[in-house]
Symmetry: C2
Subunit: 286 residues, 2 copies
Amino acid sequence: MFTATTIAEVREGLEPVRRADRCIGFVPTMGALHEGHVSLIRAARRDCAHVVVSIFVNPTQFGPGEDLAKYPRPLEEDLRACREAGTDLVFAPTASEMYRSNAVTTVRVGKLSEPLCGAFRPGHFEGVATVVAKLFNIVMPGRAYFGEKDYQQLVVIRQMVRDLDLPIGIVGCPTVRETGGLAMSSRNRYLSVEQRHQALSLNQALTEARQAVTAGTRDVSMLCDMIRRRILAAGEARMDYVSIVDAASLEALQTVDRPARMCVAVRIGDCRLIDNMPVDVPGAHG
Amino acid sequence: MFTATTIAEVREGLEPVRRADRCIGFVPTMGALHEGHVSLIRAARRDCAHVVVSIFVNPTQFGPGEDLAKYPRPLEEDLRACREAGTDLVFAPTASEMYRSNAVTTVRVGKLSEPLCGAFRPGHFEGVATVVAKLFNIVMPGRAYFGEKDYQQLVVIRQMVRDLDLPIGIVGCPTVRETGGLAMSSRNRYLSVEQRHQALSLNQALTEARQAVTAGTRDVSMLCDMIRRRILAAGEARMDYVSIVDAASLEALQTVDRPARMCVAVRIGDCRLIDNMPVDVPGAHG
C-alpha cells in the first residue's frame, strides 16, 4: 500500500494504473474508519483492479460551532484498516494541500442541498460537493463508493456526477450497524455508554415506522409522530428533523405513495446522530 | 472531421485517442466563428495531436433580456471553418443534451465572478463556469484554449481549473482584431456601418491610456476618465464600466503599481462590446 500526501504523488502513483487501463475504485473518507468504511473498501476491492482511499477531514463541510477541531484523526489505525481491507493507495493530504489560500470555487447541488441536514448545516453540502469534485479530479476513478448512512450526501453526489457529466459510477452501499442496530459513525465515539444505549432508539423508531407502512399506514405526519415519540421515549434528545422524503428528489412527502426515505437527525447530548431507512409501497414503482 | 451531437458520441469518438495517449486540445465556443476562434483552433492544432471544438450557445450564461434568441447560429459555416482550421472532432449538442430537465448543479468561481461583467450580467460567470466544467468532463482535454478578448472569463476558468484540480492546461491567446483595431466578436455583426466605425474608439482609447501609463501616468481615475472621454467623443454610448484591475485578482486598482488589465464594456445601440488591454509598469514584477 502506498500512502500519498500530495496531489502530485497521487497523480504519479496512478499514472501506470491509468496507462494499463485498470479500473480505479475510490472511497473518499474523513478517516476514523469503522466497519462501514471497511465495507466500502471491500466493495471497491471486489469491483475494481485498483483501490484508492482518501482520508481528509474537510474543513469546508463543517459549520461554525461544529466538531471540526475535535473530530477524531487516528491516522495510524486508519492506515492499518485500509491495508487490511485491501487498499492500494491512501491519499491523506493536509488542508493546505487541498485548499490554496486564494481558492474561491464552489460546487453547489442546488435544491438537493437545501432540505434535511442542509437546513441545519448551512454550507455543509457545498463543502461536500466541492471537496468530492476535487478528489474525483485528482483520483479520476471509474467508480466511487458512498454509504447509504449519509443518504442525502449520496443523493447529492449522484446528482453532481450526473449534472457535471463526470464519467464516474457512484455506488451506494448499505448502512453497517452495530449489534443493536446503531448505524456505525465516526461520531459514535463521542457517546457515553448511556447515550449509546439511548441512540438505539433511532433504528428502532425507523424500523417500527417501516413496519407501520407495511401494515398500511401511509400518512407521513402520523409516521413522523410515531418516530419522534419512540426516540423521545428513550431519553432526552433534541430533534433536528424527522422527515419522510421522495427517495430521489428529497422533497418532503405528505403520503408514502412512492419510493421514499425516512430520515432523522437527533442530538443526544453534544452528539448529532443521523439515520435513515427506505420505505416503499407495493406497486409504487409502476 | 467527425461531428458529434451527443455526449456519448464524443466519449466514443475520443476513446481511441485517449487509449493511444494522444494529447487532446479543446476549443469551447458558442459558434458564429471568426478569426479569433480560428486562431484558438490553430493554436490547439500546433500543440496537440487531436483537436476538439465545441459549438454550443449556452443558455445558462445569458441573462433575461440578453440576446440568447438572436445570437447567430450559422452551423454550416462554422463546420467549414472548423474543418479548414484542422479540427478533428466538433461537438455541437442541443441544449437538452447538455442540460437534463432536473439539473441543479452549478460551479461558482466566487470573487472573480463579481466585478466587471459579473456586476452587469448576474449569473453569467456561473453559467460559463458550469458549462465549461461539463465540457471539460465530457472532452477531458489536456489543454484548452480561450481568447484574451474575454479576459475575465479566461481568469475565471483558470481559477476554476486550479481550485477544482482539473488536470487541464489553460492557454490564453491574444485578442484578434479587425483592421482598425476592433476586437473580433460574434456580436460585431449586430453593428451598423456607423456603429462599427464608432466602436473603433474602444481599442483607440485603451491604446492611448496605455501610452499614458508608459509616459508616467499611474492614477487610475485619471486614466479611466481619459478612456471614457475618448469613447464618448466618438458618439453616443452607454458605459457599463471602465476599470483598471489587478491582472490576477481582478480587484480594482487606485494606482497602476502592478501587472494590471484595463477593461471596458460599452453599449453602442443594442450591442454590448467589451475590450481589454494589459498594462504594466517597469519593475512591477518584483
